[in-house]
């Protein structure tokens, strides 16, 4: 039967009050308390402390015990193991979300490199610490059941169980350090290897790119050589213009168009009726023509402007005739200059060109014949049209004169009719002039027909003399050129692929270097004080549980007045991580390759 009171067992708090392993920042609140605990290992001040303080603490602890015995104090429900585990190792939010939610930046890099490395190690450490604490409580209970250690016996040497616990703590601390260091070194080495692979890939891309560029240059030279050789060996078949002057055709074409136009415009002016609103103006223009030297030009210009339909039709007819003539001339030149039997190797191409030329000749001859026939018929009709106009005007004039005779003594009507008669006489005069012109045209219709034919022939002659023709690729292109062009296209595709690979390697290597430098600069072992404090609490917990189970104050047990026999190898934790031995050389190699790659990529732009 134990005399010791029934005290609730120590419960691992979540999160722990001090020195949590997953805290993002070192908890400085613990520093003073830790230093004080380290003084004697059980939370009591050193033996040299003031008696007032001890008395006060004794009184306080007895008060607490009394109150716990008399009144069941409300206590926080004890969380289960799963709750403790979840609260510690629940998935963390993303760095950005955490920063946004808490307003603090994560201490790890954006990629969470260090965290991903130390996460499992921390989990393992917590499991081990938990096991150690459980064993410590069990030992405390066993020792308490035996009434050990004796509270009145001052011991010189540490308790054996405390030595065991201290040894396990030291071993656990060493294992944690070793695991973190190993994982960090592994990660750094893995990144370095990745950088090396990227550098090698980049160098491979550089080599391949250089080969591709050389190959493309050689292909281009070969294509140019083959094209030049083909042109030299088999020059294009054709002929040059008989009259090489570049102004020959334009000048004569303009001249022919002008002649035809001036010859045909009056005809269409007589054939196509003028709008009634413009008829009076046209007559006035004819009557008002002065005796200036430019009167003819001015009258012609006015007539052209008023007779828009006649102007457009006659101009189009003339242009069509000249185009027909020129096309016939050019095609005739080709038909007379090229024969298939003169160039047997190019017979196919020449025959094709001759067939097209024949088609042009036939079409243009039919077209020009139709146009010239239409003009001939129009000239035949123009006399009739002009005669009808004269007759109509004469009839109107006779009617006016008859009305004038019937007007009698009506002075106003006589005056008006007199004016109308004079206008009619003038119109009749103009129409008679037109009729005279039409009669002249009709009488000379045959001559004008010959003139039209002559002008078309002249246009044809101009086309014949100015025609030039060049039959290229008459033998078909060299098949090697097509193959080389296909090869060149494939090279271009390969170059683009190598450039993409190279840029991907550069990007990957840059990221790897950044990660390595980040790992080297980062200090996952900075958490060692928290780990150390967690381990340092094992022995005090053993002492406290032992005393509690025995119903004693741990301060009253003389064996517990000695500092815990725990000496953690903290100097090892303070050591940082060195760069891999060949990391600088690797970086230099990569920078060199990158510069070379950039030059090569820029050279192809």
């Amino acid at each position: 039967m134990s005399k010791e009171p029934n005290v609730p067992p120590y419960v691992l708090k979540s999160p722990p009050d001090f020195g949590a392993t997953y805290q993002q920042q070192p908890d400085t609140r613990f520093t003073k308390e830790y230093d004080r605990q380290r003084a004697n290992g059980n939370g009591h001040p050193p033996s040299g402390g003031s008696s007032d303080t001890r008395a006060g603490r004794s009184h306080e602890s007895s008060t607490v015990r009394d109150s716990e015995q008399s009144v069941q104090a409300p206590e926080r429900p004890a969380p289960g193991f799963f709750d403790q585990f979840w609260s510690r190792f629940k998935p963390l939010k993303a760095a950005d979300e955490a920063a946004a939610g808490n307003g603090t930046a994560p201490d790890e890099g954006p990629s969470g490199v260090v965290y991903s490395i130390t996460k499992k190690t921390d989990f393992w450490f917590d499991l081990e610490v938990h096991s150690l604490e459980r064993d410590a409580r069990k030992e405390a209970a066993d020792w308490a059941a035996q009434g050990l250690p004796r509270h009145d016996l001052q011991r010189v040497d540490p308790l054996e169980i405390e030595l065991v616990l201290a040894g396990r703590c030291v071993e656990l601390f060493r294992q944690w350090l070793g695991r973190v260091r190993t994982k960090m070194r592994d990660a750094i080495n893995a990144e370095a290897e990745s950088i090396g692979r990227d550098a090698s890939s980049l160098e491979s891309s550089i080599d391949r790119l250089g080969e591709l560029r050389d190959s493309a240059r050689r292909t281009d030279e070969e294509i140019a050589y083959l094209a030049k050789k083909e042109n030299d060996e088999r020059p294009p078949i054709g002929f040059e213009a008989l009259v090489a002057n570049r102004l020959f055709f334009p000048v004569l074409a303009v001249l022919l168009v002008a002649v035809e136009f001036f010859a045909n415009f009056p005809l269409f002016r007589l054939l196509l009726p003028l709008h009634s609103a413009l008829a009076a103006a046209a007559k006035e223009a004819v009557l008002d023509v002065g005796n200036q030297w430019w009167a003819g030009i001015a009258l012609w210009w006015k007539m052209s402007a008023w007779h828009v339909e006649a102007f457009v039709v006659s101009f189009a007819v003339v242009v069509v005739l000249v185009v027909f003539g020129k096309a016939v001339g050019q095609s005739a030149r080709l038909l007379t200059a090229l024969r298939a039997k003169d160039f047997p190797l190019a017979a196919g191409s020449i025959n094709s060109a001759r067939r097209q030329a024949w088609a042009v000749v036939l079409t243009c001859m039919v077209g020009s014949s139709l146009v010239i026939s239409a003009l001939y018929n129009a000239r035949s009709q123009v006399v009739t049209v002009a005669a009808e106009r004269v007759a109509t005007t004469a009839r109107n004039l006779d009617s006016l004169r008859a009305q004038s005779k019937l007007a009698g003594s009506n002075l106003a009507q006589v005056s008006m009719l007199t004016q109308s008669i004079r206008d009619g006489e003038r119109t009749l005069e103009v129409h008679r002039d037109d009729y005279g012109y039409a009669e002249t045209v009709f009488r000379n219709n045959g001559a004008i027909l010959l003139l039209n034919i002559g002008l078309v022939l002249a246009a044809g002659l101009v086309g014949f003399l100015s025609a030039r023709f060049k039959l290229t690729h008459q033998f078909g292109a060299d098949p090697r050129i097509a193959e080389l062009r296909e090869k060149r296209a494939q090279l271009d595709r390969d170059v683009r692929e190598q450039l993409a690979n190279g840029y991907a390697s550069v990007t990957s290597a840059n990221a790897g270097i950044g990660r390595v430098e980040h790992l080297i600069r980062s200090s996952p072992l900075e958490q060692w004080p928290a780990k150390a404090r967690r381990l340092s609490a094992i022995i005090p917990m053993f002492r406290a549980d032992n005393a509690r189970l025995r119903g004693l104050d741990s301060a009253s047990i003389l064996a517990f007045r000695q500092p815990p026999p725990l000496d953690l190898p903290t100097f090892e934790a303070e050591q940082g991580f060195d760069e891999p031995a060949d990391f600088a050389a690797l970086k230099e190699r990569f920078q060199s390759a990158r510069s070379q790659f950039t030059r090569l990529a820029g050279a192809g732009q």
Binding site: E284, L287, D288, V289, G290, S404, S409, L411, A412, V414, S415, T418, Q419, R422, R426
Partner: protein, 244 residues
């Protein structure tokens, strides 16, 4: 620098030197209004009528740009025949073809109308000659705008033969007091500035002399100008149809 000065001088002087013939003369650009009173009463012989028609035709041929022609019958009918026509003034110093054509048209219209005023078949129908009424109408026509001067050509014997004054009767020619009384009654036409020319008047008889004197006093009273040599039995030259 000198070349530029010479070029500038030539550019400024050449148009002046070459354009001498083209300077427009715009004096009396609005022309003259001729008001012609035609008397075909029975007191006039057919020879008088032919002479008057020839003079009027000569006047028509003499008319030019800007002139106006008003022909009025001088008899006492309620609606005597009258016609007005005109030709537009020239826009430039020399007439354009259109303006020349318009002038010819005007003359042709006038020539077509003039014979209708001398229709001998109508002579018997006209029994009275109302010179005063014609003068009032002429004074009204003279008030029309857009002309510089007005010439009243009276192709008449100037013998008023109406109830108000019948000069065909003995003692029927009014005296100066008649003119004064009419003036006091404001029954005279306003003919200030009008040049009056009379062709066909009777001048060789005593009555003719009295009639001439009356009309001289009358025209002087109404403000019209009538030089003594423009009151004649015959004016053969149309160029004399004016007061200059």
């Amino acid at each position: 620098m000198k070349f530029h000065n010479v070029a500038l001088t030539l550019a400024l002087t050449l148009p002046l030197g070459c354009g001498g013939d083209a300077v427009a003369t715009t004096t009396s650009a609005r022309g003259t209004q001729y008001i012609v009173g035609v008397d075909i009463s029975s007191s006039r012989t057919s020879m008088d009528l032919r002479e008057s028609q020839a003079l009027l035709s000569g006047l028509v041929d003499r008319m030019t740009y800007g002139d106006k022609l008003v022909v009025v019958e001088m008899y006492g009918a309620a609606e005597p025949q009258q016609v007005a026509d005109s030709i537009r003034p020239m826009k430039e110093a020399t007439p354009s073809p259109r303006e020349r054509r318009e002038l010819e048209d005007f003359r042709a219209r006038a020539r077509a109308i003039v014979p209708m005023f001398f229709d001998s078949t109508r002579q018997k129908e006209v029994l009275v000659t109302d010179v005063f009424g014609t003068l009032f109408r002429a004074a009204d026509y003279a008030k029309a705008p857009n002309h510089d001067k007005t010439v009243l050509v009276l192709l008449s014997d100037m013998i008023q033969a109406t109830g108000e004054a019948n000069m065909e009767k003995d003692g029927g020619i009014p005296g100066a007091d008649w003119i004064e009384s009419r003036a006091s009654e404001q029954r005279l036409p306003d003919m200030k500035g009008i040049c009056v020319v009379v062709s066909g008047a009777e001048t060789k008889s005593a009555r003719g002399a009295q009639v001439k004197r009356f009309w001289q006093d009358y025209f002087a009273k109404v403000g019209a100008r009538m030089p003594p040599d423009r009151y004649r039995g015959l004016i053969a030259d149309p160029n004399q149809l004016g007061c200059a």
